[in-house]
């Protein structure tokens, strides 16, 4: 699904390399996790994949289902099936959550040459998806993320993911700022979306999210590279011993 080859990225503003040759292959149907210490480049990877300004790709390739996406605008990547659940979802005063979701969904459908969803069908769909994430009508009516608690913001991200039905879902520290109950709700939302045609890349600091969203492969990222990959047991090793041991071992 997602193939990253030798990806090198630096900040546009300053001459500072952040990613120094990332290689990653996330097949359809799989959940890959990326763990790593602060500053290892995890969030940069998620931003570069989604097309945020401010980064310059100096080398390497990123393909989604075999298509190079590095030249695409963020909205084109979204229409191609890429989704980033933000670490810090943005508040947008004045734009209703429903309006936002409907605009986004229909924009993607239009871009893919599909018909727009009617108001009635949209309403039916969103009510059903919102209910399973315990998002009430009031939250749907309010401006995007404005006045939402940390947990509500993350649930709202998962709702967007459920509505947009992307093929490749990237979750950037979706567990940050969540209590245990909220994390379970978010994880249930993610797990409900797992299927053979969809892949996940879960970026996290801690192993605890991976108790709820079980990964097939765990990668450890350090200093802009994937330094070690393994099964779910790798996450446990991090949990028990920290990153120091692993980093020393690969150094």
């Amino acid at each position: 699904m997602l193939k990253i080859k030798n990806l090198h990225v630096k900040l546009e503003e300053e001459d500072k390399a952040i990613l120094k040759g990332v290689d990653l292959d996330v097949p359809a149907g799989k959940v890959h996790a990326i763990m790593g210490p602060n500053g290892s480049g995890k969030s940069t990877l998620s931003y570069v994949l989604s097309g945020r300004d401010g980064y310059e790709v100096t080398d390497g390739e990123v393909a989604l289902e075999g298509e190079d996406i590095l030249e695409l605008e963020p909205e084109e990547r979204a229409a191609a099936g890429l989704f980033l659940a933000f670490q810090y979802p943005v508040e947008i005063p004045g734009v209703g959550n429903m309006t936002f979701l409907r605009t986004a969904l229909n924009a993607q459908r239009t871009a893919r040459g599909e018909e727009e969803l009617s108001a009635a069908d949209f309403l039916k769909l969103i009510r059903e998806k919102a209910a399973s994430l315990k998002i009430d009508a009031d939250m749907l009516k309010r401006p995007v993320n404005v006045g939402f608690s940390g947990g509500e913001k993350k649930r709202n991200e998962i709702l967007q993911m459920a509505m947009l039905e992307p093929k490749m879902c990237i979750l950037d520290e979706t567990d940050s700022g969540l209590d245990v109950d909220a994390m379970r709700l978010v994880a249930d939302g993610v797990n409900a979306l797992r299927d053979a045609g969809r892949a996940f890349l879960v970026i996290t600091h801690y192993q605890r999210l991976l108790d709820h969203i079980e990964p097939d492969v765990v990668h450890i990222m350090a200093d802009g590279r994937i330094v070690k990959s393994g099964g779910p047991e790798l996450a446990l090793e991090v949990e028990n011993n920290g990153y120091a041991d692993i980093l020393a071992e690969v150094a």
Partner: protein, 428 residues
């Protein structure tokens, strides 16, 4: 104090080209005293503090600068609503095109007709609120309007008026110079909505005096738009009685020069006055909101919400004041003026002011100027919303607080549609 020579010259030149319209006794007197007021204050100059942000030259000029007619196909506002429509063509009442002026709960008379009769409520109002509004700052174009207005209507609502009155201003001559004056009296517990739309003339001077008795409600939605080259100076005067309501919203799109002044006096306890404006300008566009709200009674609320979206050299200005007089306790005053600058050539100038002589009040004001929020833009795009659509969405979101001041949902939706249309025509 003698006027400076330059001001004197400008005023004399303009007055030489104007003549007082024929009117009945009381109106002639009102016009005469307005002319005296104008002569004593003189037309504005760039050195007047109140005209620091806006050059009055084209408004002062003897002849109206030419303005090409609108060549787009924008459908005119409010025409699908059930309303009483009164049409003015280049500032002249068109009886043929207008609806019958008879409507339950309201008296409507053409100004020329009213000034020939002894109608006490019109007589007690024409030029009266205008005359009250020159302290502390003179508003010469309003005095000029009272003296020289060639047409208009007087309106008196005595009950809940069943449908809005729509003042529709058509612009058909490239050099038209229109001066219209409206007098509105909302009697005790009466309820009236006035809609205004259209560019009116190459140069338009409009004055509306609104007197709201106790418990009365006045709603006002105005669209100034379409013509790129028109110029306008307008005054809205309002005096509010006890527990009365005043709500006014203006959308301005296009226009080379627009100065909208409002002077609102809350004179009865528990009155509520909201005034809002949304302006969108691209290129040769100068938009000036000048607002003065006086609290002179207890427990009144006032809100000023002004938002401007500017690009490509467009200029927006705001001068807003809340004056709370001694004794106007429990005043709740709010004022916000904001601009969204879509590029580096756009400009916003603001002068927010509070002047408070009572000690138990809550007043706040704020003014900001900023660009599109890049974080929000990326968030929208990352969900698949194309860049241009995402920007439009954020512009509309920015204007939302002003549009929310419109109480009628259908009209608010229509305004949003018009703004979307404008934005899609003014991309890049």
């Amino acid at each position: 104090m003698a006027l400076p020579q330059a001001k004197l010259d400008t005023t004399e030149a303009r007055l030489a080209a104007l003549s007082l319209p024929e009117s009945g006794a009381w109106a002639s007197e009102a016009r005469g005293s307005a002319l005296e007021r104008l002569k004593s204050m003189g037309l504005p100059g760039r050195r007047d503090e109140y005209w620091r942000f806006t050059a009055p030259d084209t408004l002062n000029a003897v002849d109206a600068p030419e303005a090409a007619l609108f060549d787009g196909d924008d459908n005119p506002a409010f025409c699908d609503l059930d309303r009483l429509c009164i049409v003015f063509r280049d500032g002249v009442f068109d009886a043929e095109a207008s609806d019958d002026l008879a409507l339950e709960g309201v008296e409507v008379l053409r100004l020329a007709e009213a000034t020939g009769q002894d109608i006490h409520w019109a007589k007690d109002l024409y030029g009266v609120l205008e005359a009250r509004a020159h302290d502390p700052v003179p508003r010469p174009f309003a005095a000029l309007n009272t003296a020289f207005a060639t047409d208009g209507v007087v309106i008196r609502a005595t009950g809940k008026v069943s449908k809005p009155i729509h003042l529709r201003y058509l612009h058909e001559k490239t050099d038209s110079d229109a001066i219209l004056h409206f007098v509105v009296r909302v009697e005790k517990d009466a309820d009236l909505t006035i809609l205004e739309g259209g560019p009116a003339a190459a140069r338009f001077n409009k004055c509306m005096e609104v007197d709201i008795a106790d418990g009365g409600a006045f709603h006002h939605v105005r669209l100034q738009g379409r013509d790129h080259e028109r110029r306008a100076v307008t005054h809205l005067f309002a005096r509010l009685g006890e527990a009365s309501t005043f709500k006014s919203f203006t959308l301005t799109a296009n226009g080379r020069l627009t100065r909208n002044e409002a002077f609102i006096e809350l004179t009865g306890n528990d009155a509520v006055a909201h005034i809002a404006g949304a302006a969108v300008g691209d290129g040769d566009f100068h938009h000036d909101d000048t607002v003065f709200v006086t609290h002179d009674a207890v427990n009144c609320e006032s809100r000023q919400v002004f938002k401007k979206v500017l690009k490509n050299g467009a200029v927006g200005t705001f001068q807003g004041k809340i004056l709370v007089k001694a004794g106007a306790q429990k005043t709740d005053g709010y004022q916000i003026s904001q601009s969204l600058l879509l590029d580096e050539d756009a400009q916003f100038l603001a002068k927010p002011e509070l002047e408070i002589y009572a000690d138990d009040v809550a007043c706040s004001h704020g003014s900001t100027s900023g660009a599109i929020d890049e974080e929000a833009l990326f968030y929208l795009r990352s969900r698949g919303v194309p860049d241009a659509d995402a920007k439009d969405l954020l512009v509309l979101a920015f204007l939302a607080e002003a549009i929310e001041e419109i109480e009628d949902d259908d009209i608010a939706d229509d305004i949003r549609d018009r703004l979307e249309g404008w934005l899609s025509r003014h991309r890049a």
